[in-house]
């Protein structure tokens, strides 16, 4: 079951007051960064992720999928080759364009 609070009115310049009960529960205070996330049920706000949390998400997901560091390093090498080749091709196409 969800929980509803009374609607909050938007103020000038898109400012919204986060209800105190929500601020307390999320530990938000003046200057706290928040994330806006669009999921299947619409937009959600939550206290901003730390750098560690974001990187841990990636690491956990890679481990869960059984992707080793070596495999990802090899994918990076492959990606570098592809990106550099694409950039070279696009530059040579531009330089071959006939002048009007």
């Amino acid at each position: 079951m969800g929980e509803y609070l009374k609607p909050t009115l938007m103020q000038r310049k898109g400012m919204l007051v986060v209800p105190q009960v929500v601020r307390n529960e999320l530990g938000l205070e003046h200057g706290s960064p928040v994330d806006w996330f669009k999921g299947n049920d619409g937009w959600t706000i939550r206290p901003a992720m730390s750098l560690d949390e974001a990187l841990n998400h990636i690491g956990d997901a890679l481990r869960e999928k059984g992707i080793s560091q070596e495999e990802l390093m090899a994918e990076l090498t492959k990606a570098r080759g592809e990106v550099v080749n694409e950039q070279r091709k696009s530059k040579s196409k531009k330089s071959k364009k006939p002048k009007a």
Binding site: D35, A48, M49, L51, D52, A54, L55, N56, H57, I58, G59, A61, L62, R63, K65, I67, Q69, E71, L72, M73, E75, L76, K78, A79, R80, G81, E82, V83, V84, Q87, K91
Partner: protein, 145 residues
Amino acid sequence: MRRIFIDSSTFVPAAYSERSPARALLTAAQNQQVTLIISPLVLSETERALRNKLPQALPYFEYAVSIIPFERVQPTAKDLAQAEGVTIDPFDVPIVAAAKIAKVDALVSYNIKHLFTKQVSDYIGAPVLTDAQMMRLIREEQSKK
């Protein structure tokens, strides 16, 4: 503040291990203890590798990049031409060219086979180090203060 160019390979151990020197390096940049420099190639190839292997991790990578105050440099065609022949692998030329123009104190990479050469460090005017070597230097410097 030390100026350090990081290769995309630095993001891999940083994601896998909370205790890795690579993670400590990214955290030091977030805390503005060092200046980390990247180029658009570093971002493009990392995003592509993640998109191919694990697309659901991409938003977390983009978020991590957005909260680290990276300095970004883009080598010109002239910079790339000048760096030709410096690297063993021609695909590494844009990285070396970017590190050169960024006037770095070090280039951090895991590409030991191709980038850890005298030619590369002479060209960029700085050592090429692993994340562990870099963090050791930073910690030694901090302990002297």
